[in-house]
C-alpha cells in the first residue's frame, strides 16, 4: 500500500493525485447490481433510450463512490467523515472520466481537512462536483 498523507504535511491548495478512469459498461452494471440500482437506465443502452436518455448512464451514487474512493486513497481508509455531491450532467459509460480533488481548508483544532472533489468528462465538463471532509488521527 502506498504511504498515506499525514495531517501535518497537508496544506491548503494541495491537489489530490488525479485519477483517469475508463468507466467500462460492465463496471457500471456491476455497481448497479451491488448497489441495488438494477434498472434499464443504468444497465442497457436501448432501455435507457426508451427513457429519453442517450444510452445507459452512470448512477450518480457511483460517481460519488468513485470520488470517495479517490479521497480515501489519498487520506487513508476510514478517514472520510462526510461527502456531498451535486450531479450536474450525465456521465456516460464507455468513456474516460477524470477524478480530481483539492484541499481547501485545514482545521488544526479537530485535525480535519475539507476537500473539493469533482469528476470531469472527456469533454472537460465538470459533471459531478462536491466536497468532502476527512478526519485524521
Amino acid at each position: 500500500m502506498p504511504a498515506r498523507i499525514r495531517f501535518e504535511t497537508v496544506e491548503e491548495g494541495d491537489e489530490l493525485p488525479a485519477r483517469d478512469l475508463l468507466l467500462e459498461k460492465d463496471q457500471v452494471r456491476a455497481y448497479a447490481r451491488a448497489a441495488n440500482q438494477w434498472s434499464a437506465r443504468f444497465t442497457d443502452d436501448d432501455g435507457a433510450r426508451k427513457e429519453g436518455l442517450p444510452g445507459m448512464i452512470t448512477p450518480g451514487n457511483m460517481t460519488m463512490g468513485l470520488l470517495a474512493t479517490l479521497v480515501e486513497a489519498w487520506a487513508g481508509a476510514g478517514t472520510l467523515r462526510r461527502i456531498g455531491t451535486t450531479f450536474r450532467g450525465l456521465v456516460l459509460p464507455g468513456r474516460v472520466v477524470k477524478l480530481c480533488g483539492t484541499v481547501t481548508q485545514r482545521v488544526e483544532s479537530d485535525r480535519t481537512v475539507e476537500v473539493d472533489v469533482w469528476l470531469e468528462t472527456d469533454e472537460g465538463e465538470r459533471a459531478v462536483i462536491g466536497t468532502a471532509t476527512v478526519k485524521f488521527d
Partner: protein
C-alpha cells in the same frame, strides 16, 4: 481592476464554498488569477445585513454582494440591490418578468444583467429565438466558468447582433473555481455603487484565467 462578478457561497443552496476559503485561494493563486475582489451572487436571495468588511480587511480583497434571480428569460444577476428593489421584487419567485426586472432595477438604482445566456433552452439566446428581445440590456455574461462547450461561443453572436457589453464570471459553486473567469474594469471600484456605475458606463471586458497554471 479585476473582479469575479458571478459566484456563490454556502448561502446558495447548491454551493459548498465558504467565503473565507475563496479568499484564501485567491491569495494563494494570485499569480494565475490576479483578482482584486469578488461579487457574491447568491441564488434567489439577498440580505442587506450581510457584512464582509472583516474578511476584506483580513485578506485585502474587495467583497461585494448581489443576487442571481430567475426570470422568464433565464437567470439574471442583480447588482446594487437595495430596499426599494427588494420591496419591488420577490427574489424567491422563479418566474420573475425579465423586462420588468431590467427596467425597474435600473430605475431603482441598480443594474440587472442576464447571465449564462448561451445555455440551451434556458439561456437568453434560446429565449430570443422565440420571444422579443429585451429592452435596456446593458451587458451579458460572455464568459461563464461553468459553461459547456459551445455555450460561450453562442453568446458572441448575441453580443454582435444587439451591441451588448460583455462581462465574465466564474459561476463558482466550489472554492477551487473562483476567479477562473472574471471581468477587468478600466476604473477603480470600491463600492457597489462604483460597480453599478461602471457596469452601466462601459470600460470593461471578460477575462479568462481557466488555462493559467502557476509557474
Amino acid at each position: 481592476m479585476i473582479l469575479d462578478l458571478h459566484l456563490h457561497s454556502e448561502l446558495s443552496d447548491d454551493s459548498r464554498a465558504p467565503v473565507e476559503a475563496y479568499l484564501k485561494l485567491l491569495r494563494r493563486r494570485h499569480g494565475e488569477r490576479p483578482l482584486d475582489g469578488i461579487v457574491l451572487t447568491e441564488h434567489r436571495q439577498f440580505d442587506l445585513r450581510r457584512d464582509y468588511r472583516a474578511l476584506e480587511d483580513q485578506y485585502g480583497f474587495l467583497i461585494l454582494t448581489a443576487a442571481e434571480v430567475e426570470t422568464d428569460y433565464g437567470h439574471v444577476l442583480v447588482y446594487g440591490v437595495n430596499e426599494d428593489i427588494l420591496g419591488r421584487f420577490d427574489f424567491t419567485n422563479v418566474r420573475l418578468p425579465a423586462q420588468e426586472v431590467i427596467g425597474e432595477v435600473d430605475r431603482l438604482g441598480g443594474v440587472a444583467l442576464p447571465c449564462h445566456p448561451g445555455r440551451p433552452t434556458v439561456g437568453l439566446c434560446s429565449h430570443y429565438a422565440s420571444k422579443p428581445a429585451l429592452e435596456g440590456v446593458v451587458a451579458v455574461e460572455a464568459l461563464n466558468g461553468g459553461s459547456k462547450k459551445g455555450e460561450d461561443e453562442r453568446v458572441q453572436e448575441l453580443i454582435r447582433r444587439y451591441g451588448y457589453g460583455a462581462y465574465g464570471g466564474s459561476d463558482s459553486h466550489l472554492v477551487s473555481f473562483v476567479g477562473i473567469c472574471a471581468t477587468e474594469f478600466d476604473t477603480a471600484i470600491r463600492t457597489i455603487d462604483d460597480l453599478v456605475g461602471a457596469l452601466k458606463g462601459g470600460g470593461y471586458r471578460p477575462v479568462d484565467f481557466r488555462h493559467r497554471r502557476a509557474a
